[in-house]
Amino acid sequence: MDAVVEFFAWLWAFWPLRVVVWTLVVTIGVLLAVAYLTYAERKVMSAMQRRQGPMTVGPFGLLQPVADGVKLFAKEMVIPAQADKTLFLLAPMGLFVLALAAWAAIPFDKGWVLANLNVGVLYVLAISSMAVYGVVIAGWASGSRYAFLGGLRSAAQMVSYEVSMGLIIVCVVLCTGSLNLTEIVEAPRPAWMQLLLFPMLVVFLISILAETNRAPFDLPEGESEITGGFMVEYGSMAFALFFLAEYANMILMSAMTTTLFLGGWLPPFGIGALAVVPGIFWFVAKTAAILFFFIWARASLPRFRYDQLMRLGWKVFLPFTLVWVVVTAGAVLAFGGGV
């Protein structure tokens, strides 16, 4: 018992302070990345549409995210008369907290992880499964038809694709034999494993588009039918929180793809010579590549219809990933042997 007391005394002396500092670094890093992801999105989309994009604020429009932030901050927060005021304000705050909380388990480089959880994958899955509440509550608390419908649609969509995401993660766990994200990155991946996981990577990429409500699955905010969905009554900082949460989730899901499938901070294609470059660089580069895919999909694909979205989730992805779990398990037993 004395040893425990001593251990905690040592812990309180300086370890939590270090954690607070690192947590602040990660939080601010993610928020900066979000700000410049909005800029990158506008620049990439404008390049794809032969426009210049933001150019006025700062050199090449580089200060545009700052200007947007200041403007949103100065706007009046309109709270609808028929809204449930507490929940109306809690919903965007909750979504924002969840979007940041999941980052605790993401390993940025070898040993660079805030919380090296034994159940890291499940932690991220649990946090992202709670995001449904933010959306539904925002829709319900607004007390507006469009918002309510948008919230419901969004919830049904998110849960539908969570099933296939869960099954894909089971495939990865089968190959690596661990729920810890650092161990998942470091687990050896022979060629047969990579071949087996490649179809899952494709399905995962499409599922994260649906899970984060991004185009072509952005039905919850489909402007042409429900005028912005669950966010229709929101403005000012409350809207900004939704916006930050959505983009932080995009980056999070890209980071998860990197961690689960692309070898995290390890140099690409297993080229040992590239390991001279720090791992964080590879991690950021891989994540950025997937974010580019997000933007590319938005610029190229028209929106799905709701029945098509549901059919893809339940009738294509679910059976396919379910069969693939069994195939992967068989392959692991046949080739993997007893480890």
Partner: protein, 201 residues
């Protein structure tokens, strides 16, 4: 008192407070959200006990899935407080009876568990260096294969039941059939007619 003890008391206090809130709040949506908070704190207590995997499952299954259904059901209710109070008073004797029976049953189960030999010591100690998910996986599918298969059958029954309760045939609605669409050839929909001048089609 170690920080872990302190964390336990905070979690337990919030858990009890939010559980009481579930019972006493007038707004059913607030009740569901307070229940979510209750589960969240219960997951925290699980972590304090070292059951990380179960804590995450509690959040994924109960918070992420079951409570979403509750929320959907409750959101559809249009509650008139005055009417609800009158109905509640009428149903009070029956409610008390049901609650009493449930309490007695739960007490009976708890007492019979406490009377089992070896109840005071944990049933399984985790082997050194093995996570709880792995330890669970080692026994659940081999030593406990029958309960596991029964769980599968229960899930099957639940699936069939869910459809029996909510599914209804809607013949009046047009459905998209992808196979029909892609199998359609120009010849199915149109024919090319050579029209001779001044005679018409």
């Amino acid at each position: 008192m170690t920080p872990a003890d302190l964390a336990f008391f905070v979690l337990a206090a919030v858990l009890l407070a939010s559980a009481l809130g579930v019972v006493f709040t007038r707004n059913p949506v607030h009740a569901v959200l307070l229940l979510v908070l209750t589960f969240f704190n219960a997951a925290g207590v699980f972590i304090l006990l070292g059951a990380e995997f179960l804590a995450m499952l509690l959040i994924i299954v109960y918070v992420g899935a079951v409570m979403v259904l509750f929320l959907f059901v409750v959101m559809m209710l249009r509650v008139d407080p005055a009417k609800m109070r009158a109905q509640g008073r009428a149903a009070l004797p029956l409610g008390l009876l049901v609650a009493g029976v449930l309490m007695a049953e739960m007490a009976a189960v708890a007492l019979s568990f406490a009377a089992l030999p070896g109840a005071a010591s944990p049933a399984f100690a985790l082997p050194e260096g093995v996570t709880d998910a792995r330890a669970l996986g080692r026994v659940l599918y081999t030593d406990f294969v029958y309960p596991f298969q029964v769980a599968g059958l229960i899930l099957l029954i639940a699936m069939v039941g869910a459809i029996a309760l909510t599914q209804r045939a809607r013949p009046d609605i047009k459905r998209q059939s992808v196979a029909d669409q892609t199998a359609r050839r120009p010849g199915d929909a149109m024919e090319i007619v050579k029209v001779t001048p001044r005679t018409g089609a």
